[in-house]
Every structure is written in C-alpha cells, then in structure tokens.
Point group: C2
Chain length 296, copies 2
C-alpha cells in the first residue's frame, strides 16, 4: 500500500507541475515561494503568482504532523493520536472577468491509530456563466471520474453542489464541480486505487484550467464587467470566510494566515441590493447559481 | 419603567436624527429607504447612503418579535418564550482614506418570561491611526459613560478591545471604543437608568462622527492611500464575516441579508503578505492595533 511519504512526494511534484503550467499560461509570470515551518511539526511551500492572466493566485503544498487537534479527536471519540496531513490547495483569481475563478484541492490525512482518508475536488466559479464552458468543465471532470468508478462523478458532483453553497444567499458559489471528503476503507476502491483517483483529479487541473483560460484571457471587457467581477468576488469571500471548512479549521488552529487567506481576491466589492438588468448575462448567471443543474 | 414600545419609538427617532445629521455632513446626499417585514413578526427600515463623504453607509432600524430562536432558548435553559428585539445599527465607510470607518449599535431585547437586556457600543476603525483623533474619540466616549456610571468607560472599553479582535491576525479591528451586552438587572443602574445610558450612547454618535469626518473629508490622498484603505477594509470584512455575533446570528436565522451585510464596503482588497514600509504611518497603524492601549 502507498505510504504517506509517497503521497506527500507526489503532491510536491504536482505543485511543481501545476506551477510550471500556469507560468506558461501566464507567458512568463513567475510564482514566488515562501517556505514555512509549523511549530508542532512539518511545514509547507506557499506559492503566489501575480501575473497578467492570473491577477492573484496561490498554489500551496503542505505536509504537517503532530498531535491531532482536539475537535478531530472528539469527533472520532479518541483520547490521543498523532496525525499527518498533506495536500495541494489552489485558488486562482484571473484578471479578465470572462475567465472563471477556479479552486482545486487534493489532500490525505492519517492518524497513528491507523485511520486514514483522502479528500479533494475541483470547482469553477465563472463571473459570467456560459453553457459551453460549463458543459466542457463538467464533461472533463466526469471522464476523469469515470475511469475510476462509474458512480463517482454523480456522487461527487452532488457533494460539490451541497458544499459550495452560500446558504444565506440561497446561491451556489459557482457551477460546482466535484467535491469528496474522508474517502477511506468503506469505498469500493482500495487505498492504492483511491490514490490513483486523487492523482487523476490533480493531473486534470492544469490542462483543464489552461484550456478554459486560453480561450478567454484576451477577450475584451468593460468597466462594468470589472465591477460585476468585484461583486462575484465578494460572494467568493463570503463563502470562504463564512462556510469553507478548510479556512475555518486553519484559522481556528492558528494556521499560517497568509497561506490560508491566499484564496481571497486582490479586490472585491459589495453593493446594497444590486439587481442586474433584465435579460443581461449577469441576470442569467444568477438564475443558474442553483443546486442540481445537469451541466452535461 | 420604560416599555418596549417606548424604546422602539425612541430608536426610530434616533435613526431619523442620525440620518439627517449625516445627510447634512454629506452636503445633501440622501439616504434611500427600504421598509421590510419579517415573516415571523415585525420588520425594519434599512437606510443606505452612497454619497461623497460616505462612500457606502447603512443606518438601520428594526423591531422584530416572535418565537425566541432555539440557540437563545438553549443558552437560557428555556423551553419556549416569545421575544421582542429592537435596535439601531450603523456602519459608515467613508470615501476619503483619512476619514475613519465607524460602527454604532444600540439594542434592546426582552422575552415573555420577563428577561430583558440592553446592548450596544461605538467603535472606530481608522485606516491610518492618529493619536489626536483617537484621544478625542475615546475622551468623548468616556465623558458620555461617566455621566452614568464611573466604571462604565473602563469596563466597556476593555469589552470593545476583546470583542473587535481579529484573532487569526492577532490584530484589533481598529482603536476600539465601547461595547456592552446583556446589561440587565445585575447592573448598578435600573432599567430606566440603563435606557438613559443607551440613549446617551445613541446621541453621542452623530456629533462625534461629524466632527471627525468634517476635519478630514477634504484632505488630499493618493492612489497608494486608497489601496491601503482597501486592505484595511479587507480586515473589516474578515472581522464581520468570521467573528461578528450580530452578523452570524442574522445569517444563521435567515435574516434580511442585504440589511445585515450593508456593513461590507463598496470595495475591499487582499494582498499576499503585505508589509508596509518601515517608518510609514501604515506601519505605525499596524503597531497600534493592540488591546489594552490607553488612548486618553
């Protein structure tokens, strides 16, 4: 069976590969790297890009270990155990409002008592929803999932709809994607097969986003489009600060704030009771921020 | 003893008076009003200004009643009770980065079992801290408090330091002010006296903010100052979405989202690991975002 060291090593390479692909997309903009150590054990490599195509983006790797946080111990009814957690976490906020925001995460967690699980997902937040793009995005995820288990796309697509949801707005964050957590011994796949699935998700990210961004990165946009982008980014901020479990966990456990909050955009905005023009693509976007849409 | 109707009526007048003073400060900009009803009982008047001095601000009145929310019942170990809650809530985000952000709230809550309490406060978030301004602000609050009880300023100033705190940043939101909650039968003041104190806090707001804003609303500022303002507003958003109890309670109980989130600025921003220049007034500001400073 695959070991935690092998998983962490593969995640590190994934970070390298994705950064290389994104630097290529952004015609030579470079990531800057901060290496950090965690007091309780382990550390990470935070990489930030501020380019032309990507206004602000982070591609973070971490592998941390130590005493398991109390809330996880309580949830699992354990008194004490050490943990190991590794993952790659990405959020990209593009400059051009025609290009969607994307988020990807793959992660692995294990404890000294033998418990282990994988989690992860990819989801897309277009500032303006276009059905062709949404279909292509979901088709790509479906085919990545279908190689591993016939139920996975359907199951993890629903999970993403439920997870990436601004409850107070009754609005999904974007067009969803796939989300999964705590995949472990109950799964139809064994540990090695789950790792292969997680690798597939990780490897799907860069070519998928580069394809989407290439297509639209040079499209014309107006000041109004930028303002709308700011409002959509405001909703992204609301989700990440109010609901996102990774963010909450990080802030609660005194994680590295700048690495956790790299997910927040360079600018965002809020207008009181903003209602887009009837028949506009902005209004059409709001109508489609719903759970349960079959994008394929 | 003062009744809930009298309190709500006074809060309504306070809203009117404050709106008039702010329209005067903003040389003729006008609030727009949305009247809303709550499904379970009661409603409110949300008033929003988008002026020249105040880029985005809200002055909200509400008086709602109905079945007490479950989390309050549980906290008080009650099975069932009706509640009545009324208050005025204000957040003002000025255009000019030299003018501070301000927040004020006064509120009254009672239940059919006889429980009642007052809460409220005023706190200031300068984008750039200036000691003269901070001293004047705190002196004004102290003298408002001193008229009612010699311990109140000290006690409620500490409470504000603890409450308006971005724990994950180890940073206060601004220079604090006063904050108090659940003032009730245990207080040295009786109910009528507490109401007089709350009225004093409410009446202190408009002249205090108008004085601060008048002084600086026409000061010159640069693009860099605006960018710094955006970063400070980002921290304001973090506090309101991650910690603020009123916001959390409103979102959890399906409150009117646009009224609750009027507190968020028209624009905000985040930079990865931003460090202001050594010796700058921005660096000096960060150094003073600490609990326990005696501003007087």
């Amino acid at each position: 069976m695959v070991t935690k060291e092998e998983i962490a090593e593969w995640f590190k390479e994934l970070q390298d590969n994705i950064c290389a692909a994104l630097e290529n997309l952004d015609s030579g903009s470079k990531f800057r790297e901060d290496i950090w150590n965690r007091e309780g054990g382990g550390g990470g490599r935070t990489r930030i890009i501020e380019g032309n195509v990507i206004e602000k983006g982070g591609v973070n790797f971490s592998a941390v270990h130590g005493q398991t946080p109390q809330n996880i111990l309580s949830a699992l009814k354990l008194d004490e155990a050490d943990f190991f957690a590794t993952g790659v976490s990405i959020v990209l906020h593009p400059s051009n409002p025609n290009v969607p925001i994307i988020h990807m995460n793959v992660r692995y967690f294990e404890m000294s008592n033998g418990t282990w699980w994988f989690g992860g997902g990819i989801d897309l937040t277009p500032h303006v929803i276009e059905e062709d793009e949404a279909r292509y995005f979901h088709k790509t995820l479906k085919s990545a999932c279908d190689n591993h288990h016939p139920d996975y796309y359907h199951r993890f697509k629903e999970w993403a709809d439920d997870y990436f949801y601004n409850k107070h707005r009754k609005e999904t964050r974007g067009i969803g994607g796939i989300f999964f957590d705590r995949l472990s011994i109950n799964e139809p796949l064994d540990k090695n097969q789950l790792f292969e699935f997680v690798k597939k998700v990780g490897n799907t990210f860069a070519p998928l986003y580069c394809t989407l961004a290439e297509k639209k990165k040079d499209l014309h946009y107006t000041e109004d489009d930028k303002q709308w982008q700011n409002l959509r980014r405001g909703r992204y901020v609301e989700f990440n600060l109010v609901y996102d479990k990774g963010t909450k966990f990080g802030l609660d456990t005194d994680g590295r704030v700048e690495s956790i909050l790299m997910s927040l955009p360079k600018t965002a905005g809020w207008e009181y009771n903003y209602v887009p023009k009837a028949g506009s693509r902005e209004e059409n976007t709001l109508k489609q921020l719903k759970k349960g849409i079959n994008w394929i």
